[in-house]
C-alpha cells in the first residue's frame, strides 16, 4: 500500500512528531482560580509518518488519539513538544504559521452529520477551501468541485444539494472531497467509518485505499475498530493514557504483540468467526482506564496489568526496540523482550 516516491525527501519523514504534550489545566473553587492539576490528554507522543504511508493510532476512548491528531493540526494547542513537516518545525503553533500547512495537512471527522454545515450546499462546502487557497475563478472552482465529487464517487450533478439529502456514507465522501480540495499530502482520519453501517464502511475504506494509490497520500488513521486498522494501516501505534505504549508495522503488532495492553486489546476484539470465538482464550482486563488527571510514577498500565512487577510502579518504561526488530517494532514494557504468555489464538 505504501509507496515512497519522493527521493529528495529520503531520510526526512514527511511528518515528525516529537514528545507532543497536550495538558488541559483545571482548577477548583470559585475565587482563587489556581491551577490544581492537569488532564494529561497527550503526554509525550512521538512518531514519524513517511510519504504515502498509513499510520494507525488505536486505543480506547480517552487515550488521547484524537487529541494527538488535533494537536498536530493546531486545532488544540499543544503545551509541549514539536511537530515537524518535511523536517521544518511548525513555529509556535499560531494560526498564521499554520496557514500554509493547512494545504498540506487536512482532516476527516467521525460524524458526517455534525461536520458538514447544514446550510451550505455541497458545492460551497467542497469549494470553500478553494476560495481560501486558490485564485480560481468561480466557474473554474465549480469545475474543480465537480472533479472532486467524481473522484470520491459522488454524482457531480449533486453540487447544489444540501447535506441532509445524503446518507451517512455519502456525507463522509463529501467530507473527503473537502479535505482533498487543497491537494494535501497528509490526511488525519478521525474514526472515518465508525458512524457508518457495516455495508457502507467497506465502501469508504476502499475509497481511502484508492485515493492513496492515485494521489500518494499519507494517512494518520485513528480508529477503535482494530480489524479496519489491520486492513488499512502499514504501521500501528497503540495508545494508553496519552502515551504510545507500542508501535510497529501492522504485521508485527497484530501477529506478535509485546505490550500486555496490546495483547489484551487484541484478545478482547470479537472476531466474526464462531469457531475461533469458541476456542479463544481472552485476557479480560480488570477495572477500567484510570483517570488521566493523575501523574503516575511508574507504568500507566500497572494497575490493570496481568504481569505487573514491583519495578513497573517505580519508573515508567520507555519505548524500546524489540530485539532483532529494532526498526519495525518498539514497546514500552520492561518485559516486552521476554516471551509473554500470548492469549491470542
Amino acid at each position: 500500500m505504501s509507496t515512497t516516491t519522493n527521493s529528495q525527501a529520503a531520510g526526512v519523514p514527511l511528518l515528525e512528531v516529537r514528545n507532543l504534550e497536550v495538558h488541559f489545566p483545571f482548577s477548583h473553587g470559585p475565587f482563587w482560580r489556581r491551577t490544581h492539576g492537569a488532564v494529561r490528554a497527550v503526554d509525550g507522543v512521538s512518531f514519524t509518518l513517511r510519504e504515502g504511508e498509513t499510520l494507525g493510532l488505536v486505543g480506547e476512548s480517552g487515550c488521547g488519539k484524537s487529541t494527538t491528531a488535533r494537536a498536530c493540526l493546531n486545532l488544540v494547542h499543544p503545551t509541549g513538544g514539536e511537530v515537524l513537516f518535511r523536517g521544518r518545525p511548525i513555529q509556535g503553533f499560531d494560526d498564521r504559521a499554520m496557514l500554509p500547512l493547512r494545504r498540506e495537512m487536512q482532516m476527516i471527522f467521525q460524524d458526517p452529520f455534525a461536520s458538514l454545515n447544514p446550510r451550505m450546499t455541497v458545492g460551497r462546502i467542497v469549494g470553500e477551501p478553494l476560495v481560501i487557497f486558490s485564485d480560481l475563478s468561480r466557474r473554474d472552482r465549480e469545475l474543480e468541485v465537480m472533479r472532486l465529487l467524481e473522484l470520491v464517487g459522488l454524482n457531480p450533478r449533486f453540487l447544489n444539494r444540501y447535506p441532509h439529502e445524503f446518507s451517512g456514507g455519502q456525507r463522509q465522501r463529501i467530507g473527503i472531497a473537502r479535505a482533498l480540495a487543497v491537494g494535501p499530502k497528509v490526511i488525519f482520519c478521525d474514526e472515518p467509518v465508525s458512524a457508518l453501517d457495516v455495508s457502507i464502511q467497506a465502501q469508504v475504506v476502499n475509497l481511502l485505499d484508492d485515493l492513496q494509490q492515485q494521489l500518494g497520500l499519507a494517512y494518520v488513521f485513528i480508529a477503535h475498530d482494530l480489524a479496519v486498522v489491520r486492513h488499512i494501516c502499514d504501521r500501528v501505534g497503540v495508545m494508553y493514557l496519552g502515551r504510545i505504549v507500542e508501535i510497529g508495522t501492522a504485521e508485527e503488532i497484530y501477529r506478535n504483540p509485546r505490550h500486555p495492553y496490546t495483547q489484551a486489546l487484541l484478545s478482547a476484539v470479537p472476531d466474526a468467526d464462531p469457531i475461533t470465538e469458541r476456542k479463544r482464550r481472552r485476557i479480560v482486563l480488570k477495572g477500567e482506564v484510570p483517570s488521566p488527571d493523575r501523574q503516575y510514577p511508574g507504568c500507566p498500565f500497572a494497575d490493570r496489568c496481568p504481569i505487573v512487577q514491583d519495578e513497573c510502579r517505580r519508573s515508567p518504561p520507555q519505548l524500546e526496540g524489540i530485539a532483532g526488530r529494532e526498526d519495525t517494532h518498539r514497546a514500552a514494557c520492561y518485559f516486552a523482550r521476554e516471551n509473554l504468555p500470548t492469549a491470542i489464538v
Binding site: 459522488l154 456514507g169 480489524a227 466474526a272 477500567e288
Partner: protein
C-alpha cells in the same frame, strides 16, 4: 421439541408519517427457546429495535402502531394484552437493556432508588429486603464497594459501570427473557469483553433467554446460538450461528460477511463492499427489497418478493437464488454511484 418461551408470528409495525404509513417491521416471525441466545442482526433502520419495542408495548403511539401479529409469551399474547398486565410482565418476566446506559437511567434517582423500585413493585420486597437485594445484584455484576456505591447517582459511574448497573437492574427480578439492544456498542472493546462475559455468566446461572440485537458480526459470533438477519423490516435469513457464518444463503448475509475486514487477515486483500445505500423503507422497490444492491439479481427478483424457505442445513432464507449453488460468484462490486 418443548414449546418456545416466546413465539412471534407475523408481526408488522407501522408509523404514520407525512409521506403516508411506513412499515418499519413487516411480517416478522421468530421464536426463542428458554435459555438460548438469539441474535438479531441488521443495519440501522432494518427494524430490529422496533421489533423488540413492539413486544414490550413501548412503541410510541401515535405515530406507531402494531398492525398485525401475535407474540405468545407463557401462553399470553403480549400484543393484545391489557396495559396493566403488560406492566406486570415488563421488568418481572421480560427485561430490556439499552445501548446508552446514561439516557436509560434516571439521573435524578440514586441507583438504590431505581433498583429497589423494581423489586418492591414486582417481588413485594420491603425497603430493607429490596436494598439488600440491590447490593447483592450490584456485587454480582462486579461493582466494587457495592454497599456504598448503591447510594450514588448514575453520573458518578463510568460508562461500563453504568451498563453493569443496567444489567443488575434488568436481572434483579430474574426475568425469563432479557432483550439486550446493542448493549456494548457504546463501550470500549476491553469493557465490551467484560460485559459480554457477564451476560453469558448470568445467563448460565439463571437460565435466562436472551435476544441480542447488534450490528457487530464479531459480537454475534461470540455470543449467539442462532441469528436472524433483518433487512428493510423483514427477516431475510435465520440460521444457527455456524451455518450463518460458514454457509450463508442470502446474498445480503454473504455481502455483510465479505465487507468486514478480518482481524487475522494479512490486510492485503481488497474488501468487497455491498454497493449502493441502505434502503429507505418508505421507498422500497418492487419485488425483493435487496434487489437493487444485489449482484445475483435476476428478472424475477424485481417482480416477486421471495418468501422465507428452508435450506438443507435447517436455516430459513428469503431469496429466489441460493448463493451456495448460484452459478457466479459475487462479481467485483460495481462502482458506487447514486
Amino acid at each position: 421439541m418443548p414449546s418456545p418461551l416466546l413465539q412471534v408470528e407475523n408481526l408488522s409495525v407501522e408509523f404514520k408519517t407525512d409521506e403516508g404509513a411506513l412499515r418499519a417491521v413487516n411480517d416478522v416471525s421468530f421464536s426463542v427457546a428458554a435459555g438460548e441466545t438469539l441474535g438479531l442482526a441488521g443495519e440501522s433502520g432494518s427494524g430490529k429495535s422496533v421489533t423488540n419495542l413492539a413486544l414490550l408495548g413501548l412503541i410510541p403511539s401515535p405515530p406507531g402502531r402494531v398492525v398485525a401479529g401475535r407474540a405468545m409469551f407463557r401462553g399470553e399474547d403480549l400484543l393484545t394484552m391489557k396495559p396493566d398486565r403488560l406492566r406486570q410482565i415488563r421488568g418481572r418476566h421480560i427485561a430490556m437493556i439499552f445501548q446508552d446506559p446514561m439516557t436509560s437511567l434516571n439521573p435524578l434517582m440514586t441507583v438504590a432508588d431505581q433498583l429497589t423500585e423494581m423489586t418492591r413493585l414486582h417481588l413485594g420486597h420491603t425497603a430493607r429486603q429490596a436494598l439488600d437485594h440491590a447490593v447483592m445484584m450490584l456485587e454480582r455484576v462486579g461493582i466494587p464497594a457495592a454497599a456504598r456505591r448503591v447510594h450514588d447517582y448514575p453520573h458518578q459511574f463510568s460508562g461500563g459501570m453504568r451498563q453493569r448497573v443496567m444489567i443488575a437492574m434488568a436481572l434483579s427480578c430474574k426475568p425469563e427473557l432479557l432483550i439486550a439492544d446493542e448493549p456494548t456498542t457504546a463501550l470500549d472493546v476491553t469493557i465490551q469483553a467484560q460485559i459480554l462475559e457477564l451476560i453469558r455468566e448470568l445467563q448460565e446461572q439463571e437460565g435466562t433467554a436472551v435476544i441480542l440485537i447488534t450490528h457487530d458480526l464479531g459480537v454475534m459470533a461470540n455470543s449467539c446460538r442462532r441469528v436472524a438477519v433483518m433487512y428493510a423490516g423483514r427477516i431475510i435469513e435465520e440460521a444457527a450461528v455456524d451455518t450463518l457464518f460458514y454457509k450463508p444463503r442470502h446474498p445480503y448475509t454473504l455481502g455483510l460477511l465479505n465487507s468486514r475486514p478480518k482481524l487475522r487477515s494479512d490486510g492485503a486483500s481488497r474488501l468487497e463492499p455491498i454497493p449502493g445505500q441502505p434502503p429507505n423503507v418508505a421507498l422500497l422497490p418492487g419485488g425483493c427489497a435487496f434487489q437493487p444492491r444485489c449482484s445475483f439479481a435476476i428478472d424475477r427478483c424485481r417482480t416477486d418478493r421471495p418468501e422465507l424457505r428452508p435450506s438443507p442445513e435447517g436455516s430459513r432464507f428469503a431469496c429466489h437464488i441460493d448463493v451456495e449453488t448460484a452459478p457466479t460468484h459475487l462479481p467485483e462490486a460495481a462502482e458506487v454511484r447514486t
